[in-house]
Symmetry: C2
């Protein structure tokens, strides 16, 4: 992958990400706030304590309840053991914070009950494979239990009588750590997020029990050779830019055990300088996690539940641990947005400094995040204008497959504006924890729809998903990020993939272009296909909103809606209408909330437009019903799909005033030459701008071509050039 | 109409509405705040001034622009004249508030330009009927122009040179008032909301010009006999409970000219005691307007745009004028929610008192609002639990037709919870001010879908809308509100209509029943039909949310969706599935936001369930696509539809914890006897409650019947009785 800069195109993602904190500037963490500091100086923290007291008090009222493991996820014993580890953790913290003995006694009593139970447990009765737990049906949950429980135990261990301590040490924690690190090697020695939880639990237990052997196994793997274990996971599970290959939703989840264990390492072995390892990868990963959001919600590509936001335990802990390391006031603004802090000394510091008004806006910005341990496996590009609450954000998803939770959506994109997702990614077909929906697990429609290429804003060839829907094949081939640029008036991403379909290479340029006189930057999308053909190309655009104006003459399926196809996701699409657009009528306008969006494109000869909706062949009502448009080109070889998305107007229900509800662009045309494609945009106001895309990706190279009697010159792979105003006299 | 009270059933709506203010307690309005009071003491008002200055400054920068009228709504001259009246009004107010001469000069210059133009104008060139204006295509807009412009003029008139004043008085305002009150009698002398604007404009002009003739015409109608005019409108356009017959959306709109003119009357002729007229009808109407909201949004029945909220100019003025009259701190809480105040002395007082912390919660509550000038034409009943932001609200729409904007939805209902509309009313099929959607006017689908009975939660007989969709016939017959009750654990409405279909009488009881152990009250719906039959009965329920569990075995139309019918709205319904429910599987659960809702019913022998979605035969994408269920009973005579809506559970994406996502009710059964129907609800926890509905509506009468070996006794038309817990040992 190359990076580019000319006069206007700025630096690469690494610089962007690392700029928000500096290892040199890291403060030594304070050794906890003075006991004299009043909680009233930190209302966020006071609220955490109150919230936690309410929960723990209720748990204490219910009494110690450590049931013999029986149920799978969502069932009674499963949920009770989850509540227990939360109670152990929070009661331990409350004891430390308040000094009230009752909390310590409760932690002790619960742990003794576990110490009585644990040695009698074998493999969980509801296990479904070899990666089973003892307390829970899967090993992962046992590891999570250990991570939380050991933190609670740490707070009270010094208060115990020797016999109690020894019993809990031996029968419970050492036994649990042994189970994870000796009997569960299939999880423990993986380079995988589940193993991070496992090694974190074991390592943190090692520190608390003073057991260096456990610590070593956790850091270096069960063979103590460094080919597995926590340090190796740090080296392989994040890209050099701190991107986690499964995508933002799982990045959030993966982050927590990394940060918790690293925090423990820093406390116990500061000489390891764990937060500096690999150029500060863990803090990079924290910042990257936050950057991968819009209006507080994670970009929901790959398997992702769309309601997941920065308001999550992982990010309360992340902000606290990150702030302890960096003192970066931008993290305080995240805490302000969360209105929550971690129940820890670090969380208290965050709350105090928020109350002191030290917060600064988090620098949400355009950036390129390489994927893969070496940064060679594609990338995510985020292009932004304005803030992350109401401004524009474009996500170009040029990453590798991202393992089992990846979707077949190479070079797909999403667009956000005005606080909402405008061009959408379906995310996962899953109702997490909703018993009625397959017990809260991934639904069959996650495979049949959500993962399929047609469910994404990307090219589908011959009605077949990328890599023929084969995850193993997909995992072996990543797109190439060819270029990235970010300047005031033009930011862009160029990426290519030649492996999604045999004999088909496609290159997608996505650019955010500022045009004087328009409300918001225009997004230009130029997708060039090289192939001997003949193929059928489908290019969908999934959007949110209500169609207000449709340019082409529609053939409507108003009374009988055909289903678009029979497999690869097509079986889930109802057809609403078809059209054969022309150069002048190829646009659609829709409204979402108080704003309007127009997609306008350059129709290829013979191409069709299909308007559709998801939800066909969905007898269990597992899918959301969402609109889409599909560009279809039959029997083609080389081809270009070119379009622009315009964000315009305002609909004010309070004033009952609507402005610019129709497109502010008069025309769009495409000039394709041997070495470049040029989109020419003319606004209603008569402004004309060319967006030029070279086949060359050299950042320094200057290009030129003549359109009509105008010379268009630009440097680098993408340029935007203001042309002579339209003369319409 | 009767009202009922027994030990538990509380008083009627009048008492409820009048209780929130007291004529006796009305303060004399202050004569304006002292000039020394700093705006910093009233940040809401300071913000209004800043907002207004920004607008007026921009208008002054653009210069005086009074174009010759040409365009219809949304067009250039139309919008410019709208901006002008707003500028005249606000610049006048700014002059009064700041003393800055430039504002007065601008008002003068704009008005002189109007005075030059106005005498040359005839009927508007884009008029479409006899109720035309001169500045605008319809008379209404000219009246609105006058109401605003005269207020701005009033602020600067004293500053003018005699010649200027005389010219503006004569050529513009007297001329405009004459046009409305002499040449536009078809509007002016109606008993109609448009005439309210017209009389308000004329009367306010009369006060400012010192022209008693104009005032008299405005108050008493053009014939000065009191059969028309403002006072007569006050007597006829609101019911005794302050309900405006067109429904909440238009009530809001109708309110403003009433309050503005009344405010002027109060200032100029306090001896009229206009705010005391008809038992304080105008303030009642204000309070009723606010009561007809949930989470700040108006109940959207009849023609209504759903995004219309309390954040609207009508309610800024309403709160200010109302507060001036009542000093009711509950109105301050509305201003707090609006975060806006009127740009007037009264608005300033509101802002100051909000800043002083004098605000108290507005008493949103259950109430009965009679419809019709005498209160004889049906009613709206609102049943509430909890606050209006997150609590439960049920709206029983038992009103008269409500003129041309009425829908064919007798005895329909809506339900709100958790900040959202759960059981919905489609509102109007209209995209206000969106040029692409029929120029922002009502769409054809407003007639073909939004007004039709099947688009509402009410009974449809033989596939035909109420009154066969004939608005004149509908206007002649209102339902009868038979009973209303409101106690802590049981509130209800009983209403009947016998005129919607020949030979069919139906009576609907809607009750909110508290049941121990459940998260929220259960809504019981019992609809009893008396008819010789045979008829086909359809009872739809339109809901918002995603189906999570469907009880009955479904026959799915997963790949070909039939359209349900060909007219009366049925042509717009896609069928998703059908079922023949049984007593044990007759329920559906859906999720909206973080909560779950289960509709459970007692299926009649041979009845069907249809799951459908709006959007068929909608080639222009004018309809929202929304789910519904329809109960269908063929070839029936007398019949009972009985069901309950349960609000349950919580889905917390932050904690990733879901509780009670499935129904907490084990069973529902119906016992019908000659004189009563009893719904028996049993919860999973074993609690059993009977909801008993007598055919008698006498509030004092006590009823009893035996079910199994249990005696059920209650007083009044509806009772809820706790039965013996289930014995499931």
């Amino acid at each position: 992958m190359k990076r580019f800069s000319d006069g206007r195109i700025l630096a690469c993602a690494i610089a962007v990400v690392t700029s928000v904190f500096s290892l040199a500037a890291m403060a030594t963490p304070q050794s906890g706030p003075g006991a004299g500091q009043s909680e009233s100086a930190a209302p966020l923290f006071a609220a955490e304590i109150a919230r936690s007291k309410a929960f723990v008090t209720e748990m204490m009222r219910e009494g110690v309840n450590v049931p013999v493991p029986k149920d799978t996820g969502g069932g009674y014993t499963h949920e009770q053991h989850k509540r227990n580890y939360r109670a152990i953790y929070e009661a331990g913290r409350l004891y430390r914070l308040t000094g009230e003995k009752a909390y310590a006694d409760f932690v002790r009593d619960v742990l003794i009950a576990y110490a009585q139970l644990y040695p009698r447990l074998g493999p969980h009765p509801a296990r479904s494979n070899q990666q089973y737990g003892r307390l829970f049906w899967q090993n992962l949950n046992d590891a999570v239990w250990l991570v939380y429980a050991i933190q609670g135990y740490e707070e009270i261990r010094g208060e115990l009588q020797d016999a109690e301590r020894q019993r809990i040490d031996t029968d419970l924690f050492r036994s649990a750590a042994r189970f994870l690190s000796e009997e569960s090697l299939a999880t423990f020695d993986r380079i995988h997020n589940h193993a991070t939880w496992s090694t974190a639990g074991v390592g943190m237990t090692g520190y608390v029990l003073g057991d260096q052997d456990l610590v070593q196994r956790a850091l270096l793997g069960s063979k103590l050779d460094g080919n597995a274990g926590f340090l190796r996971q740090m080296d392989l599970l994040f890209s050099p830019d701190g991107y986690y290959t499964e995508g933002p939703y799982y990045q959030r989840y993966a982050l927590l055990p990394f940060l918790l264990f690293a925090d423990a390492i820093e406390s116990n072995e500061p000489k390891r300088k764990i937060f500096e390892r690999r150029d500060g990868i863990l803090l990079k990963a924290l910042y990257t996690t936050i950057q991968l959001t819009y209006a507080g919600h994670f970009f929901a590509f790959n398997d992702a539940i769309k309601d997941k936001s920065l308001n999550t335990e992982e990010l309360y802990q992340g902000v606290a641990i990150g702030y302890e390391q960096t003192n970066d006031p931008a993290l305080l603004s995240i805490a302000r947005q969360q209105r929550r802090v971690a129940l820890s000394d670090a969380g208290r510091r965050v709350a105090i400094d928020v109350a002191r008004g030290l917060s600064k806006d988090f620098p949400f910005q355009s950036l390129l995040l390489r994927d893969g341990p070496e940064g060679q496996d594609g990338a995510v590009v985020v292009l932004r204008r304005g803030d992350s609450e109401s401004g524009q954000a474009l996500v170009a998803k040029n990453t590798s497959q991202g393992m089992g939770h990846g979707h077949f959506d190479k070079l797909s994109w999403q667009y956000f504006d005005n606080g909402a997702e405008i061009l959408t990614d379906y995310g996962a077909a899953r109702f997490l924890n909703i018993e009625a929906k397959a017990g809260g697990r991934y639904l069959p429609e996650n495979e049949s729809w959500a993962k399929q290429s047609i469910a994404h804003n990307t090219l589908v060839v011959d009605g077949v998903s990328h890599f023929n829907g084969d995850a193993l094949a997909a995992q072996a081939h990543a797109p190439r990020q060819l270029a990235y640029g970010n300047a005031a008036n033009l930011s862009f991403s160029v990426a290519r993939i030649d492996s999604a379909y045999a004999g088909v290479t496609f290159t997608r340029t996505l650019a955010m272009v500022g045009i004087e006189g328009l409300d918001a930057p225009v997004v230009a999308d130029l997708l060039r296909i090289q192939s001997a053909g003949p193929h059928r190309y489908d290019l969908p655009l999934h959007y949110q909103g209500h169609l207000t104006r449709t340019g082409p003459v529609l053939k409507s399926y108003a009374a009988v809606r055909p289903v678009l196809g029979s497999d690869h996701g097509y079986q889930h699409i109802w057809m609403d209408a078809e059209a054969s657009p022309t150069a002048t009528d190829a646009f659609l306008t829709w409204q979402l909330n108080d704003r309007f969006y127009t997609w306008r494109w350059v129709p290829q000869a013979g191409s069709q437009l299909i308007l559709g909706e998801s939800g066909a062949n969905d007898p269990s009502f597992n899918l959301r019903r969402e609109p889409m448009l599909i560009h279809r080109l039959n029997a083609a070889g080389n081809a270009v799909f070119a379009g622009i998305l315009e964000t315009h107007g305002n609909d004010d229900p309070e004033l009952e005033q609507t402005v610019a509800s129709d497109s502010q662009i008069r025309s769009l045309s495409l000039v394709s030459r041997a070495d470049a494609d040029v989109l020419i945009i003319e606004t209603l106001g008569g402004r004309r701008v060319a967006v030029a895309v070279s086949r060359e990706t050299d950042a320094k190279r200057t290009h030129g071509l003549v359109v009509g009697d105008e010379n268009i010159r630009w440097t680098g792979p993408v340029g935007s050039v203001v042309l002579r105003p339209a003369d319409r006299s």
